[in-house]
Symmetry: C2
Subunit: 204 residues, 2 copies
DNA sequence: GAGTTAATCCTAACTATGTTAGATAAACCA
DNA sequence: TGGTTTATCTAACATAGTTAGGATTAACTC
């Protein structure tokens, strides 16, 4: 009989069409807002009628889910490129610069990944797992500089999302809060690093 | 025509119905999510048909706008109740406890007031002015403790929204980030205070 | 190559949405 | 009372996401 074909033309075409749809979806969403995505618009953008999209995605939320996965994958991949040195403060700065930069360079993607604001949408467990990956790497990165307690990690994520949020909400396209990243990281570093003088430890 | 009636029964009834509609809207929105508000549901909740709501509000966004105004007014009013002492750090803590508390006690209201996430909705200028009031008071409050530069103010708002955001997104109903408020304020205070030896007194 | 099968795409239509038009009843004022 | 404004209704429109069912096309089997 025939051995397994090296290429599956159907799957290839299907995947390529899926990618094309997602590409168009990102474009539309950046123009009209995340919740403003219309399947009819999206379909016409790729030369289809709306119901034809259901050949490639089970629902509108499935499209959001695929976009979420792309964003999370992109984040995880680029996060690994942030270099680690033997200077913890420099690493903190670099890491936070990356995070805030990544988030603010595409506010709609940030809204999709980090703010859960679409009415009926929640990423599927296996999709969400991708985004866990990024957070897990942050934890190991911090552990590498001696920060292991949950409180310190939580405080850092709060600062990160806070800077990002303010930047996107109150100065979109600008850098009013991006400029504060280094200062914030120095503040944080001095806070979590025990100084030569005895540092008061906060108890729960 | 010229005699002014002491009471305007129509206006009174109208205002009362408006209030009743808004009350029902808050309830629905807390149950179904901010964007999940349906005019037909809302109308049936107050014993009307959907189009009858247009007697009281020009559009769905006008309802959001009225809710925004209620929230902003509530915030501004309660903000004035936060006491000011001659201990800047204590004031910082109290102020931030209030802010994070206010935001997390009603996430939907937070979403409406601080995250601009409803597709076509923006508060009317006169509505938005109410929320400016609150931020302006924060600025004077900080100026009272010697913080006048924009960077410090921006850093503080970032910390505030960051703590709030993480609390709502990742531990709704809990206090994982609320617990960090005091620590965060100490960190911030020590960062923005030039001389850790003696803090300046700003009382007359 | 012919026939079969599965994938793809279409039109028509269903439900739910915000909203408008127009009619009718109720409340108020002179 | 009569006249006017207000409140409410039903019917309907446009636009959503989605489903049903048929037609076309590509791939596979013999």
């Amino acid at each position: 009989m025939l051995d397994k074909p090296v290429r599956d033309r159907r799957s290839e075409r299907r995947e390529s069409t899926r990618a094309e749809i997602l590409e168009a979806a990102w474009t539309l969403v950046r123009a009209e807002g995340l919740a403003g995505l219309s399947l009819r618009d999206l379909a016409s953008q790729v030369g289809m009628q709306a119901p034809s999209l259901y050949t490639y995605f089970a629902s509108k939320n499935a499209i959001y889910d695929a976009m979420f996965a792309q964003g999370a994958r992109d984040y995880a991949d680029r996060e690994t490129l942030v270099p680690t040195t033997d200077d913890p403060l420099a690493d903190l700065r670099a890491g936070m610069r990356f995070f805030v930069g990544f988030c603010t360079e595409d506010p709609v993607r940030y809204q999709l990944l980090f703010q859960r604001t679409i009415p009926g949408f929640e990423p599927a467990p296996e999709t969400f797992a991708i985004s866990i990956e990024g957070l897990e790497r942050l934890r190991t990165r911090l552990a590498g500089m001696g920060l292991t307690d949950q409180r310190s990690l939580d405080l850092l994520t709060a600062i990160g999302t806070g800077l990002t949020d303010q930047q996107i909400s109150n100065d979109p396209g600008g850098d009013r809060w991006i400029r504060l990243v280094d200062e914030a990281m120095e503040m944080y570093f001095h806070h979590v690093t025990p100084t030569p003088v005895k540092r008061r430890r906060t108890r729960a």
